[in-house]
Amino acid sequence: MELKITVDRSKCSGHARCAMKGPDVYELDDEGFCISDGKIVTDESLRTQVIHGMKACPERAISVIEA
């Protein structure tokens, strides 16, 4: 599998919720903004983290496509 993460940086306001629900997937900068835009996840065991992190984002800034 291959999941591609897109983060709309204009919407991301640094809640850090994505990284709470997907600590091994989503990375934050020092101010708490998500820097995982464009990341491709191939490890099947991380799928739930990818999805839960996306769905926890209050700004609806994250989208994920099956690449």
Partner: protein
């Protein structure tokens, strides 16, 4: 028109508002708010004839009543300005920085804070919060009962605040008193007196920072290294910043922490469940932040525009409440039920858009640390018999006391 007469206040419904969009709901003074504010928000949200309605209460203003629309408003400062934080606006009051600024001005002031309040800078506060929580519980543990607000949830955020601005936390008690006088003082004189004492204290703190030159804590950083338009931050702006931390970071934490303990004290089994499983302990405050949100923010239209079926006029005001957004059943099924394992909990308890709470990482750290330290020390936590709890509810929503007991 839903439930009531159209003109309950002196100001008639303006011409640009369609009659079918008019309600008379009062989110500041409805007496039911004292008993169950979130239940009332959920009821209004479910019963609203449209997702945006005009209420005749409080001089007339819009209420946004769906999660999606509230998030959109908070994310669109070009149309929904933060210039007033009250309904109706408080004329002549000094600007709260960065709360009452709009981008691009807001961005400059806000980025200064993010540098010192990001998730990685917060480690230090975790240790401090744990130590303070234990000290406070030491004082009451043997008694087997207390008002947990007076004993813990009020003083702790105050001590941590003093720590954050680099002042000795020995003065917490004095500080708590000023805070109460400021927010609840029975007359203007008391409130202004409290504000002056707080300002004098903050001024002292800023002067100390200038002298020692340190930039380790947040205030030290702003004083000695902060830059706005490549210039050091002015004294007036520093005072405005410090005053806002005071307003934004005390009662919000107190209210949320109290809500966490209130839930535990009224739900047998919750305490054990939280102590057994650390991942619950992280999700628990998030679900409490959703179900019992403590902030209803206000926005003001920057110009005339059409939005979601209504005509908006410049200077119209909106309640864009996080406490409304978070009990919208379309977004959160069964919204009034606390579910530690709720999936897709994209709550906006800390707001959304550019004004998203600057202290959210600090607040989360504080909440989890305190739960973890305190819950094992107050076994079988429950309300004292005969307790009738009451809320104050408006822009900020919280309990007024939390009398509890535990096994000793």
């Amino acid at each position: 028109m839903v439930g009531g007469v159209i003109q309950t206040q002196d100001r008639p419904v303006p011409d640009h508002v369609e009659p079918t969009y008019v309600v008379d709901w009062d989110y500041l003074k409805d007496p039911r708010l004292q008993i169950d504010p979130h239940g009332l928000y959920a009821k209004w949200t479910a019963e609203a004839p449209h997702e945006v309605v005009w209420t005749t209460a409080n001089g007339g203003h819009w209420m946004i009543l769906s999660n999606e629309a509230i998030v959109e408003a908070l994310q669109t400062p070009e149309l929904f300005s933060s210039k007033h934080t009250g309904i109706p606006p408080r004329p002549g009051a000094a600007k709260l920085i960065p709360e009452e600024l709009d981008p691009p001005e807001h961005t400059k002031y806000r980025s200064q804070l993010n540098k010192r309040l990001g998730p990685k800078m917060i480690k230090y506060f975790d240790g401090r919060a744990r130590a303070m929580a234990n000290e406070l519980i030491d004082r009451v543990q043997a008694a087997g009962k207390c008002d947990l607000m007076q004993a813990l949830t009020i003083p702790l955020p105050c001590s941590l605040f003093l720590d954050m601005v680099g002042l000795p936390s020995e003065r917490t008690e004095e500080f708590v008193q000023w805070k109460d006088e400021l927010f609840q003082g029975s007359n203007n004189e008391i409130r202004i007196g409290a504000q002056q004492r707080i300002n004098a204290y903050l001024e002292e703190a800023i002067a100390l920072k200038r002298k020692d030159g340190g930039a380790d804590d947040l205030l030290g950083y702003l004083v000695n290294e902060g830059r706005i338009d490549d210039e050091p931050i002015t004294q007036a702006d520093l005072m405005a910043y410090a005053f806002l931390f005071f307003i934004a970071g005390l009662d919000t934490v107190t209210a949320t922490m109290t809500n966490c303990f209130h839930y535990i004290a009224t739900h047998p089994g919750a305490q054990d469940k939280l102590l057994e499983n650390r991942s619950f302990l992280i999700d628990f405050p998030e679900e409490i932040l959703r179900r019992y949100s403590v902030v209803n923010s206000v926005r003001t239209a920057t110009r005339d525009f059409e939005w979601r079926g209504v005509q908006i006029k410049a200077e119209d005001q909106f309640v864009a409440g996080t406490a409304f957004a978070n009990v919208d059943g379309k977004e959160f099924p069964d919204p009034l039920t606390v579910d530690f394992e709720r999936e897709n909990n994209r709550h906006i308890g800390f707001g959304a858009g550019p004004h998203r709470c600057a202290g959210s990482h600090l607040a989360r750290t504080e909440l989890v640390a305190v739960m973890q330290e305190v819950l094992p020390r107050l076994p079988n936590l429950r309300l004292q018999p005969g307790t009738d709890l009451k809320y104050y509810a408006g822009g900020l929503i919280g309990l007024t006391e939390l009398p509890v007991e535990w096994d000793v």
